[in-house]
């Protein structure tokens, strides 16, 4: 991967040097006579050389400013990749610096809330409706916070260059199991049932990026949790070349017009209906971008008819077998 800012700086320096040499040559050309350099077209060759050097230098400086605008690959935000990588590195450093502190207030509130809940239960105290609502609300917001932090991290990672060390032996089955652990209590609380299975049952190990798989599937499951009516099914399966994670819900389905837009950055169904957004619309965008980044794809199948409506997201990632 080219490091554009360094290349740009080098180009500018070289251009400055060459043009300076050119200007100096033009300036000193009257000091030389034809006894050293015979005239060509009535102009001294040293002047020629000077003008050429100056032009070349200016061209290099201009190229340093202009070329990256055309050859610099644009990122999803419209900023060229080199600049974006610089920003992402800075943001990542800030995130690493603050990510512990960001969670601490919530972890304290959560600890107190859980202690209070346990104490009310232990002392057989009849809680008021408002108290229960408050305690439940705190618990309900925690998964949102966890996903939000994980999405910020994923967004930063998306703009950074990939390194081979990101690919490691992973057990997709174990990753899915962890995600389900997180969402099972939430589903239970909202009267929904999650079921998952792996086919084959012992799925084995593949070379992939566990963080990417976790980000993608978490976003798919989180999205499904919002729209499912009662049942959510997650199935892990594979063929010779790829493994698939199917996330299916029995919700109202997605309108055909919306299906091609659901992976757009910041798009939510409310935008389609001209209503106020209730989420960031980044989850599916992150999931889809990550999947593509690892040579995979997410496909969606949905039926929004009144009978048997459903939505199924199918994540497919290539299998790199571990020797």
């Amino acid at each position: 991967m080219y490091n554009y800012p360094t290349l740009q700086r080098l180009c500018k320096l070289l251009g400055l040097f060459v043009s300076s040499v050119g200007i100096v040559l033009v300036l000193i050309s009257p000091l030389f006579s034809t006894e050293y350099f015979p005239y060509v077209l009535v102009i001294e060759p040293i002047t020629y050389a000077g003008v050429l050097c100056a032009l070349l230098g200016f061209a290099l400086i201009s190229a340093a400013y202009v070329v990256p605008r055309f050859i610099g690959k644009k990122t999803s935000t419209g900023v060229d990749r080199g600049t974006m990588e610089q920003w992402s590195l800075v943001t990542q450093r800030y995130f690493e610096m603050f990510h512990h502190d960001l969670g601490r207030p919530l972890s304290r509130i959560l600890g107190k809330e859980r202690e209070l809940r346990a104490s009310l239960k232990y002392n057989n105290v009849e809680e008021s409706e408002g108290t229960i609502d408050l305690l439940d609300e705190i618990e309900r917001q925690v998964p949102n916070f966890r996903l939000m932090m994980s999405n910020i991290q994923a967004l930063i990672q998306l703009e950074l260059p990939k390194t081979s060390s990101e690919i490691q032996p992973v057990e997709p089955e174990a990753i899915i199991r962890k995600i389900i652990d997180r969402y099972t209590p939430i589903a239970k609380e909202t009267g929904k049932e999650i079921t998952w299975w792996s086919d084959p049952q012992s799925f084995g190990v593949v070379s992939s990026n566990s963080a990417a798989i976790e980000h993608i599937v978490t976003n798919l499951v989180d999205n499904t949790m919002k729209f499912a009516d009662k049942f959510i099914e997650i199935c892990l399966t594979k063929n010779e070349y790829a493994f698939q994670v199917k996330v299916r819900d029995d919700g109202p389905g997605i309108e055909p017009d919306y299906q091609r837009r659901i992976f757009d950055r910041g798009w939510t169904p409310e935008i389609g209906r001209g209503q106020e957004k209730t989420s960031s619309g980044l989850g599916l965008f992150i999931a889809n971008t990550l999947a593509k980044g690892y040579g995979g794809a997410i496909n969606v199948a949905s039926d929004n008819s009144k009978m048997n409506s459903y939505t199924e997201f199918i994540l497919e990632l290539p299998i790199i077998k571990v020797k």
């Binding site: 919530l106 346990a118 389900i180 963080a211």
Partner: protein
């Protein structure tokens, strides 16, 4: 009957062990039947190095079955990733000891650093973020430690005595009632479903795993009959008629999943 068999000792290594969130976690683990022990430095200065020394002594002295370990020990720059240093020492000295690491975010750079270190991909080490619910932590520990208790409680109402191969129903206000007609193959099927549920409550048990108890071509049909009988036996005692989507569910003709009720 004590349905909560002592499952062993969990050692908690966290400088915030007196915080509400860690205390709550310990209480939930104890409700599950585990004993918990927190590494306490007492009057010793609370530095990362001291936590490391005390933690390693505590492991040697108490031989725990699992460890809950925080990544960050205080605000000093050297101690921000102290937990990973402690982890590396534990993995080196006790490679089979299950360790569940508490991080602020389970997929963060901390994990990457740790994985690139001494960890093998199949080390019994897992990462969970500190905001995770107690149920999530318990499930992770169950899978990391691997053992299943001899008496397994399925929700609030049903328990399985794996050793004696019997099933009990727990009615509020009365002593546990033995279900005497769930035995033999029926007990094995229920046990298979219960073990999967215990470690991963939403996971389906595929037909082939349950059909191995039957011979012949009609294995699927025989399995269906046994499942119905299990539901009827439990339902009769509980005074409930379990329907197709209750207790043991057939999911998309792939297998069965246990969904024990919590209340009548």
């Amino acid at each position: 009957m004590d349905t909560k068999k002592k499952q062993g000792l969990i050692l908690v290594i966290d400088d915030e062990w007196e915080s509400a969130i860690v205390k709550h976690m310990c209480r939930k683990l104890e409700e599950e039947g585990w004993r918990t022990l927190c590494v306490d430095l007492g009057d010793t200065p609370k530095t990362g190095d001291n936590y490391e020394n005390y933690a390693l002594y505590a492991i040697e002295d108490n031989n725990p079955d699992g460890i809950l370990l925080d990544v960050r020990f205080g605000e000093h720059r050297d101690d921000q990733f102290k937990g990973l240093e402690i982890l590396q020492k534990i993995v080196k000295q006790y490679p089979r000891l299950p360790v569940l690491m508490f991080t602020q975010y389970a997929q963060g750079p901390e994990r990457e650093i740790a994985v690139r270190g001494t960890l093998q991909w199949n080390s019994p080490v897992d990462f969970i973020d500190k905001l995770a619910g107690a149920d999530e932590v318990i499930l992770r520990l169950r899978r990391l430690i691997g053992d299943t208790p001899e008496i397994m409680k399925l929700g609030e109402l049903i328990s399985l005595d794996i050793h004696n191969k019997v099933v009990f129903i727990h009615k509020p206000g009365s002593s546990p009632q033995l279900i005497d007609d769930i035995n033999g193959i029926k007990f094995e099927i229920l046990k298979e479903l219960a073990i999967t549920w215990y470690k991963s409550p939403s996971e389906l048990v595929p037909f082939n795993k349950l059909e191995r108890y039957f011979e012949g071509e009609e294995a699927r049909a025989s399995l269906r009959v046994r499942i119905r009988e299990i539901k009827d036996s439990l339902g009769k005692t509980m005074g409930i008629r379990f329907g197709a989507s209750d207790l043991i569910m057939n999911i998309r003709d792939q297998g069965y999943r246990l969904s024990p009720p919590d209340h009548y």
